[in-house]
């Protein structure tokens, strides 16, 4: 997290394979996997809470995961670019990253 400025400027513009051994890509892969896991847990808990709004334990987990994913997304977006267009950038980084449907996506 020390070098969080312009990280993607020097990124090789080839389809980065997910099992790339480069540790930066590994780190990125780990972070995005964690974000996806937390997002999924939040979706799942959200549906459950829609029909079980009184479940204290589920509510507590939902709160905890929301907090975790917010911190992680803040960190990720700072390093690797926006996950939504609601993330402010000095240049339009939305165009720099592969789209989710492309092979080798994150």
């Amino acid at each position: 997290m020390d070098n969080d400025k312009c990280e993607c400027m020097d990124r090789k513009h080839k389809d980065s394979n997910n099992d790339n051994s480069c540790s930066r890509d590994m780190r990125r892969q780990e972070m995005i996997d964690q974000i996806k896991s937390l997002d999924f847990a939040i979706i799942e808990l959200g549906l459950y809470l829609d029909t079980h709004p009184e479940d204290k334990k589920a509510l507590c987990m939902h709160r905890e995961y929301c907090k975790q994913v917010k911190d992680l997304k803040d960190k990720y977006q700072k390093m690797y670019g926006p996950l939504t267009i609601f993330y402010p950038c000095n240049k339009w980084r939305w165009l720099e990253e592969p789209w989710p449907w492309e092979r080798g996506n994150y």
Partner: protein, 202 residues
């Protein structure tokens, strides 16, 4: 409103294109029990729901179905991307290639374009939620058939298994929402009649 998240709900990385599988899997994109039908069914039905729980569940499951639509489109795209016309034709996609190239068009496996006649919006919460329960089961059954057809490709089976599982969870949640609506409708109703009559009853 909606906000786009630039990630798939579940990762998909298909290393070997296989247009034969794409020809079948596209049914979950634009077929009768596919994700487009699911999302539009729930997001349209939600306007007619009577209580908070059923409005929320239709809204939130309808939203998740949009993420599934993107996943199925991704599978079809990765299975056909870069495949030449001859190979597509051999896989039974010659007619598809003629009209759509390797774009992802919402159609059923048999070639029918997506049709709103495959969904219902009855404006009756019991009828609509019952339809949703059936829709989830039909989608689950479709995913099982697709998994049978794909038994050689783990990269494809993995996301299909995820999608199948979600149908099971959605079925559960719709069942709970339906019970809530039924309970609400079965509640004894108390009518406050003749409230000011006491004075007359001397």
């Amino acid at each position: 409103m909606w906000t786009y998240n630039k990630v798939l709900e579940y990762p998909i990385n298909i290393k070997c294109p296989n247009p034969r599988l794409a020809k079948f899997i596209i049914s979950q994109y634009g077929g009768p029990d596919g994700e487009l039908a699911a999302s539009l069914r729930y997001l349209s039905q939600r306007f007619g729901m009577p209580d908070q729980k059923s409005k929320a569940i239709l809204n939130d499951i309808g939203t998740e179905e949009l993420a599934h639509l993107e996943m199925v489109g991704t599978i079809v795209h990765q299975l056909t991307d870069g495949v030449d016309a001859k190979t597509l034709e051999e896989a039974g996609l010659g007619a598809y290639y003629t009209d759509h190239g390797v774009g992802v068009y919402p159609q059923a496996a048999a070639g029918w374009p997506w049709n709103a006649a495959t969904i219902a919006v009855k404006g009756d919460p019991i009828a609509d939620l019952q339809e949703d329960l059936a829709a989830e089961q039909k989608a689950r059954a479709t995913y099982e058939k697709l998994i049978d057809l794909c038994k050689d490709d783990q990269d494809v089976i993995d996301p299909l298994r995820f999608l199948r599982e979600r149908e099971v969870v959605h079925f559960q949640r719709f069942g709970e929402a339906l019970r809530g609506v039924q309970d609400k409708l079965a509640d004894k109703k108390f009518y406050m009649n003749n409230m000011n009559c006491s004075n007359d009853m001397k």
